[in-house]
Symmetry: D2
Subunit: 364 residues, 4 copies
C-alpha cells in the first residue's frame, strides 16, 4: 500500500510522498528511503498514516492500495473515512458483500474511487470502446473473451511460489481462483469495451489438480443485456500459454479484435470491405488515444526498458570502478568502438555512394 | 544533457542529481524542480556543471548526453576531462573525424564510455547475440537487416516539424540523413548480434524528395569479415511503415529472426527440426536475458504505461476536485461499480457452478 | 452425387466413371460429357445407377455423395444395398434417427463408409492427432474450439442466395443451423485430434436475426470423457470473420494450436521450453503427414491454382485466336518479353558481379 | 513436356490430349495411359509429335513445356514452327542469346507464347498490380523483394538429390544458380506488380559452399526506370527458410506488402489512415481477382488437398477390400461412428438448448 500525491510520476502528474510500506517500521522507513520519501512519512500502520497525514498541511491527496486482496476493503474504508480519494488494485474486495459495503462508503463520502483494471489503460482498448460506442459496428451481437495462462499447470502452490500461494488460498484471495484472479479482468474488459452489461450467465468452474482448493479453469456462457450471446473462457492450466487475453466483439457490420500480447494493434474486420488494423500512436487515432501512448508509432513501450537495460549495465560498471579501478564494462553495452564504427559507416557509405565507387573496403 | 548518479532509476541503480538542462538558467532550474533535483545543481552551462560537480564531495558519477548530435563530442570531452564517465546518445559524434577524436579522449582518460544503441538493450537481442556466439547456428553465412520508416514520405522538414528539421539539416545531424539517423542502428544491430565485423560495403544512397539535402533511402550490399554476403536496407520514405527494424541472420544450421515491432519474440528456424520461438521472460532463457525483463512472461512492457494511463486520469480527477468539488472522474477509469460487478461475477459464478444451476440471471 | 472408381484423381488413385448428376437426363448427360464420362453411365436417378452399375463387369467401386443433406441417407442406403462402398459429405444424415439407421446399414452390409470431414484431411491436423496420441502433451486438460463465419450477418436467405437458402431451411438441412453446418466440424475436429469423446454438454443456441428459423450462433460448455473442461463456440453471425476455425488443446505439458486459415502451421507451446512451429511438408514430420502434402515445404497449395490461373488466361487467348486471328493475350500472362528480360537479368547480373563492375545499366 | 488442348483442366478449359512424355516410347505410352490419353498420341520425340499432330484434324492447340531448361528453346521453336502456341516453364531459355532467338521466333510466327511465372497467377498478386496501376499508392519510390530458401545450405547436389543436381549444373540450368532458379521469379514479380522496369543494377553473387559451381546467394541494388531505388535479395543458403518470397513496394501514399507463404492476404499500409488487409475471394475485390479464386473466402486452397487426402485413404481401403475382404479403413478417415456422433451432437444440443436444460450427459 502506498500513499501518493500527484506531481511527478507518471508524466509529472503524481508524486509518491508517504506510505505504509510494512508493518515493521524499520522496513517501512527503508522502503521510504528507496522511494525518496521523507522518513517521517513512512508509517508502519495504515490507520496511523491516515490519521497523521490528515493533520498535515501538505497531506496526501489520495491513497493507492497495492496490498493482498483481504486488505482492500479495510484500507479503502480507512482512507475514505479520513477524507482521502482511493485508487485500488482489483478486485475491489474479497467478496460481494465487502464490495457492496465499500460501495456504501464511496457513496457516503462522495470521494473518488478508482480500480486499476490494467487492460483498460491500453490506448487501443480505449479506442475500441470509442469505436463501439460510436455505433460503427452496429448493435453488438456476439462476444468471445478468452484469458488463459499456463503457470498453474503444475502444483506451484506446493512449492511455496509466493504469487501462487496467496492466490490459491481462499482466505487471502476470496472464493474465486482463476475466475477471481484473471476472470474478473476478462469480465471487465468485455463490459468496458462493449458498453453492455452481462445479464445472464451459465458458469462452469473446475480444478484440474488434486489438492487445489480453488478453480483453475472457468468457462461461462453469457448473454449481454441486449440479448447477444457470448462466451468467457478463462484458465490458468492452459499449459504453454503465457498471458493470452483476447477479445472478439461482433456487431452487425463488423468485428473488433484485440490481443493483450500484441496490445498496440486493433483489428477491425468488416462485412464488405477490407480488414483494418489500427496502430497505437498513429495520427488517425482520436486525440485521447494518442495521448495515452508515450512513444512514436511503431516503437513498443519496451523501448524504455531497453534503454533502462543499457543504463543499468553501464551503472554497474561505474559502480564497480569505485572499488576496482580496472573494472571493465559489460560487453553488452556498445562503447566508443561501436561509436567510431557507426560514424565510419555513415561517412564511408555517403562518400562511396556519392562517388559511385561500387564496392569499397570498410576498415577503420 | 543530464548528469546522473546511480541510485534509483531504473531499478534503483541510478539517481538523477544534477544537470545542465538549458542555457537559460531559469529554465534549467525549472527543469531541476520537475526532476526533483536541488536547484543549486541545475546548471546553465555544461562546462560549469563539470567544474562545480568535480569540486563536490557528493559529485556526480557519470554524465548522460541527450543533446543534438553536434554537442555529443564537446560535452563528452568536457565530462571526461573532468573525470566523469559518459553515457551518450548515438551517434558518438557528427562525423568520423570527431568520433576518432572522442576515441582518443576515451583511451587517454581510461574512463567508461557507453552509447545507447537502444535496440541492443532488448532482452531477446541480447539472447540472439548469445545464441550466435554459442555456435548454435554454425558459421554465419548471410545477413539481411532492414530498417524502414515512412515519416519522411512528405516534405515534413518544410513544415517546421522539429524532429525532421534538425535531422534533415547537415549542420546539425552530420552528412548522413536516413543512414545517420537509423542506418547506424541497423549497422550496429547486425554487428552486435552477429559478432562479426562488416568488412566491405557497396552503398547506394538517394533522396526521393526535391529540396531534401540528405539521403532518405540507403541500400548497401555488404560482406562480413568471414566473407558472408549481406544487405542493409534503410529508408525513411517507406510510406506506411512505422518503425520496421528486422534482422535475419543465417548460419550453417539455421536462421535467427527478430523484429523490433514485436520485440519479445525471437524466432529460430532450423534446417531439420521445427521452428522455435523464444519469449521474453520465459524460464528457459539465460539468466541475464531474464533479468533484462521486468514483467512476467506474456505481459508486454506497455502494461506499465497502461497502469500509468489509469493513474493519470485518476489524478486529473483528484486535481479537479481541489477546485471543483463535484468534478467527476473520467468514465475511462473503472470505479466502484466495476468493482462491485466484478465481485458479483465471481460470487455468482462460483455459487451457480457449485450448485450446477445452469443459467442464472446476473443482477446486482 | 457422383459415382467414382479409383484410378486417376487425385494422385492417380480414383477415376470418375459414372454418375447421377441431375434428375433431368439431358443435364446429367451434359455433365458426364464435361467430366469425360461415357454418356451411358450418366444416370438421371441414383437407384437406376446402382441397379445398372451392379450389372456391369466394370462396375463402380464406390459412390460419393455430394447432395443436399436430406438425400444422404437414401443414397447411401441404396448404394450399400447394391454392394457399393460409400463416401459421403457430412452430415451423415439429417437427424440422429437417420444416422442411427444408416449405421445399421453400414454394420449389416460390412461395407466401407467414409465421411468427408474435410479438416481432418489437413496434414497438420493429422500430425496433431498423432502428437496427442503419442502422449507428448500428457493428459488433455482443456479444449477450446471456435468456428466462426460472418456470412449470415445479413438476411441472405431472403435474397435467394442458394447456399444460405437450403442451409436455413429445416426441411433440407435438419434441425441445426450453424451447429449443423459448421458446429459438427468443430465437434469432429475436437474429438478427432484429442482422441477423447465429449461426455457432457451444456449448449446454448440462438438466432440473431428476425425470421431466421435455425440457430446462427451456438455456444457449448463441455466436458471430455476424462473430465477435462472445454468450450465449443460456433457462429455464422460473426461479422467480418471469414472461416475462422481454431483449435486450442491443452495437456499437462503443453498446448497445441491450429488455425484453418493458416493450415500449414501447427503450433506447440510448452511449459518450460521454447514454442515450436511445425510446417507442412517439412522433413521432420512423420512420413504419413509428409505424404499428405503434395508440394515442397513453404509452397502453399494455392500454387497449383496460381498455375491454373495462368493456364486459363492463356487458353482463353488460344481459343480467341480460333475466331479472331489478331486476338491478344491477357497482359496478366507473362510472355516472351518477360522471358527475355529474365534471362537478361541473370546474364547481366552474373557478368557484372563476376567483373566486379558495380552499377551497370540494365537495357535489353 | 506435354501437349495440351483446352477442354477440361482446369475449370473445364483445357484438356491434355497428346504428349512426348519420354524418349523411351514404352514409358511415354505408359504415361499417356495414366493421363487418360490415346496411346497413339504418346510420342517419344517432340519433333515427331509436332509433325504428326499438325496433320490431325483434331490437332493440339498449344504445347506446354515442362522440361529441364536446356530444352525450352528447341521445343518452343519446333512447336511454333509447326504452328502451335506455346506455354513454357520459366526460364524462357538457358541464356540471353537463346531467349532473344526465341523472341524472334515468337515475333516471326505471331503465335502466342506464355511463361508460367507462377507467382503472377496468385489472385492477390494480380490485385496488387491493379492497385499500383490505379495510382492508389502514387509514384513508386522504393522496392524490396526478397526470395530466400534454405535447401542448398548443405551440399545436397553431392547426394544425388535430383532437383539440386540439375539446378547446380551450369550445362543444364544455365549460368545462374539461385539467380536463375528463383532470382528470376523475384525480378519478374517486382516488374509485374510495380508496372515499372528495372533500369540499373549493381549485383553481387556468391557461393557459400566449396565445390558449388553456381551462385547460391545473390544480392542486387537496383533502380527502377523512374529512378526509384530498390533491393533484390535472393538466397538458397538461408538456412531454415522454406520458400520466403516477399514483396514490399512503396509509393508516395502508402506501401503494399505480399508474402508467398501467406498468399491470400495483401497488406496495404497508408501514411495517414489505418492499415488494410485484403483477403482472397472477398466481395470487395475486383471481379477478375475474385474469379481467380476457386473457393469461398477464408478457405485456403489446401482444402482441396485435404479432401483429396481423405479420398485417397478411402480409396486405399476400397482397393484393399478387393483382395482382403476384412481390410479395415485407415482410422484417419471419419466413418459412420463420427457421423452418428455428429448428428447426436446437433440433436442433443438443439434439444437441450431449447429446453433450457443446462448440463446434459452426451451418450450415444
Amino acid at each position: 500500500m502506498l500513499a501518493v500525491e500527484y506531481d511527478v510520476t507518471p508524466d509529472g502528474q503524481i508524486e509518491l510522498v508517504a506510505g505504509a510500506f510494512s508493518q515493521d517500521s524499520g522496513k517501512s522507513r527503508q522502503a521510504a528511503k528507496i522511494y525518496g520519501i521523507d522518513e517521517d512519512r513512512a508509517y508502519a500502520d495504515f490507520r496511523q498514516m491516515m490519521e497523521r497525514e490528515r493533520g498535515r498541511p501538505d497531506a496526501i491527496d489520495f491513497v493507492t492500495i497495492v496490498t493482498p486482496n483481504h486488505l482492500h476493503l479495510p484500507v479503502a474504508r480507512a482512507a475514505m473515512e479520513h477524507g482521502f480519494h482511493v485508487m485500488s488494485d482489483k478486485p475491489a474486495a474479497v467478496n460481494l458483500a465487502e464490495a457492496l459495503e465499500l460501495q456504501s462508503v464511496v457513496e457516503a463520502t462522495g470521494l473518488l474511487y478508482g480500480l486499476t483494471h490494467t487492460y483498460t489503460g491500453y490506448p487501443l482498448v480505449r479506442e475500441a470502446r470509442r469505436i463501439v460506442a460510436s455505433g460503427a459496428l452496429g448493435q453488438i451481437r456476439r462476444a468471445l473473451v478468452v484469458y488463459s495462462q499456463g503457470w498453474l499447470s503444475e502444483q506451484v502452490e506446493a512449492t511455496g511460489q509466493k504469487q501462487a500461494s496467496w492466490r490459491s488460498d481462499p482466505a487471502k484471495s476470496g472464493m474465486g481462483g482463476a475466475i477471481g484472479d484473471i476472470g474478473v479482468h476478462a469480465f471487465n474488459l468485455l463490459e468496458y469495451v462493449s458498453g453492455r452489461r452481462i445479464a445472464e450467465i451459465c458458469p462452469s468452474l473446475s480444478s484440474s489438480l488434486p489438492m487445489r482448493l480453488l478453480d483453475d479453469d472457468c468457462n461461462v456462457l453469457l448473454k449481454l443485456d441486449n440479448g447477444a450471446p457470448g462466451v468467457l473462457s478463462v484458465s490458468q492450466i492452459a499449459a504453454g500459454d503465457r498471458n493470452r487475453l483476447t477479445l472478439d466483439l461482433y456487431g452487425e457490420k463488423g468485428g473488433l479484435h484485440w490481443e493483450q500480447e500484441d496490445p498496440n494493434q486493433l483489428h477491425l474486420n468488416w462485412l464488405h470491405r477490407p480488414s483494418e488494423t489500427l496502430h497505437a500512436a498513429a495520427d488517425y487515432l482520436t486525440p485521447p488515444t494518442r495521448a495515452a501512448y508515450r512513444l512514436p508509432v511503431g516503437h513498443p513501450e519496451g523501448l524504455i526498458e531497453a534503454f533502462a537495460n543499457i543504463y543499468r549495465d553501464f551503472a554497474a560498471a561505474v559502480r564497480a570502478r569505485a572499488t576496482e579501478p580496472a573494472a571493465a564494462m559489460s560487453d553488452l553495452v556498445p562503447g566508443i568502438e561501436a561509436g567510431v564504427r557507426g560514424m565510419a559507416f555513415v561517412q564511408r557509405a555517403v562518400e562511396a555512394s556519392r562517388a559511385g565507387a561500387g564496392w569499397v573496403k570498410f576498415t577503420i
